[in-house]
Amino acid sequence: MKKKFLAAALCAAMALSTVTGAVPAMAEESAQVLKTYRTNEPATLDRVAPTIDESGKYILHDASEPMVRIEEGKTVEAGCESYEYDEATMTYTFHLRDNKWEDGEPVTAADYLYSLQRMVDPNTAYGYVSDLYCIENAEAINAGEMEVSELGATAPDDKTLVVKLNDVTPAFLQVVPLYPQRQAFVEECGDAYGIDADKFLSCGPFRVTEWEHNSYIKMVKNENYWDAANVKLEEINVAFTNDSNTLYSSMLNGTLDYMETSSPEYIEQFESMDDMVVQDHVTPTLGFMVFNCEDPVMSNVKVRQAISLAINRELFVEVIYNNLSYPAYGLLSSANSLNGVSFRDKVEEPLKAFAEEHPDPKELLVEGLTELGMDPDPSKLEITVSSGSTTASSNNAMAVFQQCLQETLGVTMVPDQTEWASFWNDCKAGDFQIGYLAWSGEVDISFLFNLFLSDSAQMPCFYYTPEFDEIVNKANKSTDDEERFSLYGEAEKLVIVDQCQLAPVYYSVNRSVLRSKVKGWDYNVFSTAGRKGVYIEE
C-alpha cells in the first residue's frame, strides 16, 4: 500500500506542470477584426533597440505614431500636423498634433526627442545609428566624444521639435525613425522596455493589449488616438507561425485574412476562389553572390565578371522559385523609386549590356587567370561558394550554381553551407571566396549603395574605391531627382560590372493572398501606413 502511494506520488510529481491554470481565451468575434500573421515574433517593440526587427517595426506601425508616415510612396504628416525644412540652416521643424498615449497623457516633443537621443547614445547600440549621422553632433556622441544632450535636436516647447542637420540629406524623413518614447516609462522598465504588452506604451491607432510570446499579439483600437474617428478596425490579431500548411489551412477556415506564399498549388486554388485576391509585388530584396576581392583568385575583376555572367538567372528563378522572383541584372529592383518614379524605369540593368558584349564568359575567365599568372585551364580551377543557410532551397540554389559554373566555365564549384552566424562571422573576417546571401533594400534608394562605401564597408567585398564613394556621396546629397538617378546608375554599373564586387542573382517577389472583404490594404513594401486605413467590408 505504502509503495503504491509512493508510486502515485512520483507519477504525480512528473505530471506536476500540467495542473497549472489555463490562460484566458481569445476574444469573441466582431466584424471589424483583422487576422494576420508574422513568420516570427518581434524581438522587441523598442524601436531603437539593437534587436529591432521587421516584425517589431510592423507592430509599431500600428501601435505607435511616427512623426511622418510613408503612404503609397508619399510622405504624409502623422505625429506632426505640419513640418517645414529651412534650406539655409538645414533645419527641420515639426509641429506636433494633440496626440495622447494610451493612458491619456499627451504625446510631447520631448518624447520624440528622447528616442532620438537614445538612438545616438553609444550605450544603446542601435544598429543603424549611422543613418542618424546627418544630425548635428550625432556621430561625435555615438563615438563617446560628446554628451547625448548636445545632439542637434531640441524641443523648445511641448509641441515643437527642431532637428538640425549637418549636411543636405534628402532622405532624412525616410531613414531616420522618429518614434516617440516616454522617458519616465522607458526608464521605469529598464532593459525590459518593449518586451511585453505591459512593458510597452502605445500611442498609435491601436494599442497592444496581449502578447503571448511565440504565439500571438493582440491589438485593439486606441480611443485616445488623435485620428480615432477614422480608424475602422476594432481589433488586430497577429499570429506567429511560419508553417506553410498552417497558413494555408488558416486561410481556408478563416483563422487568417492574409498570407504570403510561393507554393504554386496553393496559388492555383486561391485564384479560383471568389473571396480571395492574389497579388504579386516585387520587394527590394536582392539575392546575390558577393566576391571576396582579397582572395587570390577573386582579386581579378575578369574572373569575377566571368563568374557573374556564368550564372543562368532565368534558370535559377525557374528552378528555385517557380518563377516567383525575377532574374536580377542590377542592384536595385523595381520596388525602389524616387518620388513615385521607379529607378528601373530610368536606368537599364547594367549587367544586361555587359552580357551582350561578352557572349562567352569563359574567355574572360581565361584572360583573368592568365593575368593572375595561374594555369589558364578552367578545369583545374576550384572555387568555393559559401552560404549561411542549410535549407533545401539553399541546397538547390547551390546545385544550380554548380551546374552553371561547370557548364559555362568548366570550373569545379564546391558548396560550403553552414548556419548563418558562422557564415556571417567568416564573411566579416574575410575568410571566404564567394558568399551567397540576400540583403533587403530600404525605402531610401541609397541604402544598398551605402553598403559599399569605404567608410561604412558593410558589404564584405573588401574592395572599396574612392571613385565609387565620390559618386554615391554626391548622389546622396543631390536634391535633383534626375541627377540622382543618373549618379546611382553610374554607381550601380561600378558595383555590378566595372568593379564587379557583387553578382546579382534574383529580385525577391512577395505573393500574397488577401480575403477580398478586407479593404484599404497598402501593398507597397515600403509603406509605414500600418493597418490604420484597413477595414472589413460587411
Binding site: 509512493l6 508510486a7 512520483l10 510529481a13 512528473m14 505530471a15 506542470s17 500540467t18 497549472t20 489555463a22 490562460v23 484566458p24 481565451a25 524581438a43 522587441t44 533597440a49 539593437p50 534587436t51 553609444p122 550605450n123 547600440a125 544598429g127 543603424y128 545609428v129 555615438n142 563615438a143 529598464g190 532593459d191 525590459a192 522596455y193 518586451i195 512593458k199 503571448e212 510570446h213 511565440n214 504565439s215 500571438y216 499570429a239 506567429f240 507561425t241 511560419n242 508553417d243 500548411n245 498552417t246 489551412s249 488558416s250 481556408l252 477556415n253 483563422t255 548556419e419 548563418w420 552566424a421 558562422s422 556571417w424 562571422n425 567568416d426 566579416k428 561604412s456 564597408a457 558593410q458
Partner: protein
Amino acid sequence: MKKYVLKRILYMLFVLLVVTTITYFLMHCIPGDPLTALVQKLPEQTKANYYAKYGLDKPVWEQFLLFLKGIFTEGTLGESIRYPGRQVLDVLKKYSVSSGQIGVTAVAIGFLLGIMLGVVSALKRNKLPDKLISLIAILGVSIPVFVVASVLQFVFTVKIPILPTMGWGSPKHMVLPILCMSLSPLATYTRYMRSSVLDVVNQDYITMAEAKGMSFGMIVRRHILRNSILPSLTILGPNVADVFCGSFIIESIFSIPGLGGYYITAVTDRDFPMIIGSTMFYTGIYILALLIVDILYVVIDPRIRLSETK
C-alpha cells in the same frame, strides 16, 4: 533508501556542473557571437559598450566564474542577449509550462495506451488485433510528426472545422498538438511492451500461476504487467525530460508559446545565456527523471535493490 536518494542528488549536482562547464566552453568555441549574428556592422565604440554590457569583453573563464557567481549569489541565469530584458530563468519557467502541459499529457496518453496496446498485441500474437496494432505502431514511428500534424490540422480545422488551427489559451487549442505528440510515444511503448510481454508469457511462473487456477485478468495484472513494464519505464524518463523542453516543430506549426523555439534560436542567435540556461534546464530535468525512474523500478520490482543496505 533516503541515503541512496541523497547520494544520487549529490551526483546529479555534479553531473549538472560538468555538463554546464563543458557546454559553456563549447559554445564559446563556435565561431560568432551575439553581435555577429546581427547583420549590421556597428561602430567600434558601440560594439565595445555592447560587449562590456554583457561581459563578453572578459576572458571566457572569467565570464564562466561570473556566471557561476550569479547562480549562487543571486540565483539568476542571466539575461537573454537576443531578447534584452528577458531573464533566462523567467523564460524557462514561463514557457516550460505550456510545453510541459502538452508534452506530459501526450506522453501520459502515449504511455498508458501504448502499454495497453502492447499487452493486447502480445497476447493476441499473430491474430488480427496484433496485426492492426503493429500497423499503427509502425505508422506511428515512421511518419514524421509534421506530416501527421499537417494532415490532422487540415482534417479537423478545414474539412471538419471543430478545432482551432493555431493559437493558445483554451483546452481546444491543446487537442491537436497533444494528439500529434502522443503518436510517437504510443508507437514506441507499444513495440517495447509487445516484445517484453512475449518474453514474460513464456516464463515458468506464468504457467505456475495458470496451474494455480489464477484468473486471466489477475495473471495479466499481477505477473505479466509488472514483469514486462520495466523496459518501457526505462525510456519514460528521458521521454518526459524531452517534452518539457518542447517540440520545435509542433510548437511552430500550432503557434504554441513553448520552449521549443528558444532552444533552436538561442543557438543560431548565439544567445549565450539562453543556450547555457536551456541546457542546464534540460540536463536537470533529464537526470531528475532518471532518478524518479530508478525509484519506480524498486516499487514495481522489489527484486531490484537500490543500495546495499541490509
